[in-house]
Amino acid sequence: MEIRQKRDGDMLTIEIEGRIDAVTAPEIGKVLDNGLEGVTKLIFDLKDLEYTSSAGLREFLGAQQIMEEQGSMVIRNANEVVMDIFEETGFSEILDIEE
């Protein structure tokens, strides 16, 4: 899994490529621990994300909890497989997902 970050003022875009599983999910946590200071808009661009496990859902939820205190978070460009996971787990109603 690869994580790429783009910071533009108070907006941070995180692109995730590959698969999120229990082994790779903590890397997202590390990025969020260190990189959200001064961020008021967080965007997850998932165009290159193939799949996420429950551990990945947990990281998205954790990020949302943090951003609720300091701004907003949105998920973009999730593919069909990832969208199915969000829908079937009910996370499509919890996370802000843009089509």
């Binding site: 599983d21 947990r58 939820l61 954790g62 909890q65 199915d84 079937e88 787990t89």
Partner: protein
Amino acid sequence: MRSYICKSDRSEIPKALDYIQECFDKKMIDKKKRVRPLLVAEEILEALCHYAEEGSELRIDVGGTLGNVELRYRCRGTEFDIDAIEEKLFLVKKTPGNEEANEVIRQLLERLFGNSLSIRNDKGMNRVSQTVVTSTYAVLIYTIAALVLGVIAGLLIQTLLPAETGKAISDYVFSPIYTVFMNALKMIVAPLVFFSIAASISEFSNLRALGRLAGRIIVMYVITSLIAIGIGIATYEIFPIGNPALVAAVDAEAATETIAKGESASVSIKDTLVGIVPSDVITPFQKSDMLQIIFMAVLLGLAAAALARQVPLIRDFVRTMNKAFSWITGCIVAFIPLIVFCSLAKMMVSMKLTDLVDVLVWVPVVYIGDILMICAYLLILLVVGGLNPLKFLGNYYPAMISGFTLASSNAALPSSIRQCGKMGVSEKIYSFSLPLGATINMDGSCITLIISSLFFARIYGLPVTGNMLLSLFIAIIVLSMGSPGVPGGNLVCLTLLVPQIGVPAEAVSLVMGLYPLVGMMQTMANVTGDAVVTTVIASREGLLDKDMFNLGMKQQ
């Protein structure tokens, strides 16, 4: 299918998941239905690898009969349980929103794991069994097979053996098994219904934030349930089924007692209403007085909801007890095919085959009631919502078929949500209205309960009084809202309902074998009702895209 064997190493997990996907392809499991089992499979594989003995092998097999699909995992290692899997997913960082987030994760875990996992360690070998698909057809086939075999066994005994021998087999083999089960069912029904209703009502505090809209939806759900009971009564007036000769097929002694009691009792409507409030909390359970149990359950549910923030333990207690009794009921209900066999065999030892037809007619009559209810829904769409009912059917029929084939409102929910979205209903409404309806709006169940009650009343020669109808009315509305969400939950409700009108609970054995057939049509009526109410309210609130609705399935 061949087993999959690999090293118990995390790096092997993606390939193991590919094997599982292949199995799902071969079993033709729908793409969306694979999502949750795959998430669960990944967590199982993670845990097995984490607790594995060094150098051990991981083995995956797929099995299951009659449409059921099960994954079985084996790996040598130290013992672990489901908590070990779940704990890893909770957030541990100390942020203000953690509690809420962990509640979301708890609900996710409930959705994912539910009752689908069994984990045990057998002399150092971890064995995990994951239920992927529970086929409703399996239950249907076993129950119908038990019914047919029971009828054949009873007829053979009647035809080939002397009457005394037949009676002895009935008294010493079939009756004891049947009695044990009926006792177990009667034992569990009161606490099950009590905690199920209390748990349903305790969740209502979440709806306060939704306010007016939620209130309108709930009111409309109650109105459609009242209409359903009316339609059930009307259907029964047109087809007044119930042959008193069937009484002897259940339990002749108890039947005579019941009929005598029915003839002498005369309780007024005033007494029925006053009698709803018990004078102590123990006697209602001892007497299985359903109206009083429901009253106490509603009070407890309201208390749990009102005190949810100050004393969350009350709601947790109610939810926990609901789960415990649901699990126990699930175990008892698993024996239904055996009980159907014994019940039908016992019946057919002394009954004529032609009398069996008097039981079988129950199925088409309930079906007619459900079809009439669906017609009533279409009228509601036209008159109250100002919408074209044929367009609704054209848009929504895939979800209706899902309801029929899955025989479970909750299982049909994803299909219902999808079709409502496609026909232009705003997510703002259907996202809570449909799950709410799947829990509290069971118009099809109301029809089954009322027709069944009147059917049994006729069999036992009990007059249908205004008092009886009032009791049934109140009880069926509340039972359909708090109906236990377990397989056979409606049958359990019937077991608690009929003694209130003077019919022994044992009478339910007459229809037990046929219940899966009725369950399918009943669920189709239930899910259609949920969608109709959702669509009508959406239309009246300006939350329905009428162009999308009228364009319909052509667009898809």
